[in-house]
Symmetry: D2
Amino acid sequence: MKKARAGSWQGYWTTKIGWAEAGKILVRGYRAEELIKNVSFAEAAYLVIRGELPTRAQAQALDAVLRSGLDQAFISSAVPPARFAASAAPEAPAAAIAAGVIAFGSVTGSPRECAEMLVSAHQTLARDKVSPAEVARRTVARYAKDKRRIPGLGHPVHKRIEPRAAALRAIALGLGVWGERAQLFDAIAREATRRFNHPLPANLAGTVAAVLLEIGFDPLEMVGLGVLSYLPALIAHTTEEIREGHPLRIIPPELGARYAGPAERPLPASHAKRRAGRA
Amino acid sequence: MKKARAGSWQGYWTTKIGWAEAGKILVRGYRAEELIKNVSFAEAAYLVIRGELPTRAQAQALDAVLRSGLDQAFISSAVPPARFAASAAPEAPAAAIAAGVIAFGSVTGSPRECAEMLVSAHQTLARDKVSPAEVARRTVARYAKDKRRIPGLGHPVHKRIEPRAAALRAIALGLGVWGERAQLFDAIAREATRRFNHPLPANLAGTVAAVLLEIGFDPLEMVGLGVLSYLPALIAHTTEEIREGHPLRIIPPELGARYAGPAERPLPASHAKRRAGRA
Amino acid sequence: MKKARAGSWQGYWTTKIGWAEAGKILVRGYRAEELIKNVSFAEAAYLVIRGELPTRAQAQALDAVLRSGLDQAFISSAVPPARFAASAAPEAPAAAIAAGVIAFGSVTGSPRECAEMLVSAHQTLARDKVSPAEVARRTVARYAKDKRRIPGLGHPVHKRIEPRAAALRAIALGLGVWGERAQLFDAIAREATRRFNHPLPANLAGTVAAVLLEIGFDPLEMVGLGVLSYLPALIAHTTEEIREGHPLRIIPPELGARYAGPAERPLPASHAKRRAGRA
Amino acid sequence: MKKARAGSWQGYWTTKIGWAEAGKILVRGYRAEELIKNVSFAEAAYLVIRGELPTRAQAQALDAVLRSGLDQAFISSAVPPARFAASAAPEAPAAAIAAGVIAFGSVTGSPRECAEMLVSAHQTLARDKVSPAEVARRTVARYAKDKRRIPGLGHPVHKRIEPRAAALRAIALGLGVWGERAQLFDAIAREATRRFNHPLPANLAGTVAAVLLEIGFDPLEMVGLGVLSYLPALIAHTTEEIREGHPLRIIPPELGARYAGPAERPLPASHAKRRAGRA
């Protein structure tokens, strides 16, 4: 990261993305009105984020990624926080959505970790001139040794196949964008299934990571794209909660709450005394 | 809002949006893999939020709305909070995006307020059997009397025309979805310009509100759709900040900070004494 | 709200709260190091927010308010979103806390609504020269007529007494800060119990509102003070979740999830066709 | 992290922090009303987060930490996002505060990184039986080699002394809680100043980390405590913004905005054609 030159704050907020002045908006050099009239949402999103317009296959693949999130109801870490927030603060629906967006982290929801693994594996492939199967073997071995979950594989509910992931992969294959890094992802999934001796299907975050890498995105940008693909679900759930939900959402014992702290105990005598002397 | 039946927590989290079980995901009744293979992102988003698939014109109008946000750099209340947050917490890019999402409120960014005005104006039209021009006159008079800004009109930078709003309106006209409520919005804009004697162009939030009303959305849902249309910009700005920004963003006096509080003053003597006696 | 003078952005970010320059920090006119050495956290918080140091009784009452939140585990709308977010994004604990903070809204958690009711009731008392009991009668009647919940009264779990609210009220009485507006709150609670013929105990948000009004805060500031009193609980829950929780939190059918949407249905034939023609 | 036993969701939400049932709230085993009546906010916060009541010195040190944040106006990464959000969404003050909370990350605002460095340095001290000066030398050398900023040292504005940090350290010394790990922090600061040949004063996050370690907190908990110490400032700034700020905050060119992207360019001809064929 760069520092502002000492003594100067000019250009402290420099951007290459867009610019607006009276009656004129440029986005990556193009006039906003031209873009709105002539490109699709997926093309516009690609341009805004990557800086250049996509090819037709790239745009179609991005549209497929964006429509793959859809909704899984409460089999999601992002929907419940959005609904709790909407239940408590229905006057602020954007903030409720934001509470859900915060839950797109390293454990679930974000394709970033899988993409970083694939970038690293692909560099090994190029550098060490070994086969994809060997790179997959090394990758899985390293995660197994560190007892870490392999990002992009496995799902708590979809044990054999993640239907969204499978559909997205089929589309990417059809568009000719399931390239080397995506094929490495296949190899890693096969090797993991072999090594652990039970199916570890590609999940959606992993498949999204593979497709987005192939169409030119880098891992950091994928966090936000994962959010974007889930935003219709977050909109639907927050509005459903505000219209038809419960105004005072809690988690009662009947739905899993349990106390495992100390049993009831009296305050140490010293505390009552201390307060008496202080007030 | 409904209460859970006393004594029963079954179905406390009931949804009509989607459902997932091992290997099978339903979204509004359709299989997720069928949707991913056969509909566009705009169609999928419409379905998830509204419950039914859109017509072709509705889907095309929604895609146009979603691509109309694009980016305006720092002429936005949402980009700066996202960039400050990304600067301070680059390890959490989704949370930085969330900081921007929170800024889609009643003052700027959300089409909701304009849509509520149009719904109310349209009810007046139907109920009182008066002309659109008369409804517009009453609407503008009411805001003028209350000294409130008319939602959907005017922009601090684009004083004569908002190019994104104009392009979106042209597309909606071409698709045949610029209906009665949207035309009421035109009438209100004309009346406001006449009454205040200076141009008050339709802004993007207002034009988005008009289009979304005409294709079947209700005002509450528009908050999230406004967020969605701006998400590519938030993704681009947070990643640009993390890669090329400043790691310790502040607002220095050179960029507008000023102190207008009390001049330096000593603590009242009582405070030093009180503390001495307490510690 | 004021506008910046046209053509000038100087002082765009003017504040009366504090100021920092090399080696020197002023807070409401006092040197930061003097405050840190000589006042308590409650005194400092009062000063930062209100602009002047509190009296001793005001400071003690504020400390009592701040320690009254404590924790109620999952009988809270703020703890679950924070824990879901911490489960999914353990790398960003501040953001997980923020997901909980978002849930301090109008329905629960915020003393603001009750405080606004008390301010309005107190104005009636002064203006119309009627008894507190009569003001309480009118207030309760208005909420009953509008079928709205009376803010500050009732609790889904604590049906007869809210122990935190009762303890806070006792302290405020002891400190001599349970004044006219707080007594109006008592009168409203009595009247509500009489009218609805079942106990509607003062809840914590209501009692906090009464105390904070009496020591000089205004309703808007109470939203943040409600957050502050609950922050230790949010810190404890997010760290407990990160250390001992579940890494992929969901809501399964066993814990209340249920689908009430359309049964499985095929895509309309038109969609498959449309897509085929477009790709 | 533990998994729920397969097939059982009982106790999915188990906590050791607190519990509430009709009329009774336990916090770490103590009755809520007893705590509110007999302990201070700092004691209560310690108990809620750590599980046991603090000693008197620990409580006083924690109170000092909490009051050390105070306010630095716009020399902060958290205040600007909160004010931008409050400007755009004044109807949601808690959410505006949350936008500021999100900005407590690894780069600034959080004591966590410094605390982790001190824990690691202290382990080296114990394990390798070397002097604090030698541990400091190794620690600084490692950061210098990796060209990483040493957490807890240096400030963009306070180049010679951070007055809040100095006051907090003085209080901790007076309370007898400036122990081995805090003294290691002193040693690291001295070594850094020696090695880089210019003053690198302890900043507030670093001093807070040293004190909190000595009174029993672990690094993860410090993120939230850093937030807590800054919450009065966030409350004051969001309310000041809502009352006296600007309703459409932007960053204009006069305050540092600049465009460095591509100059205006026409859309590639292919795009206009593609759209024409698709609509």
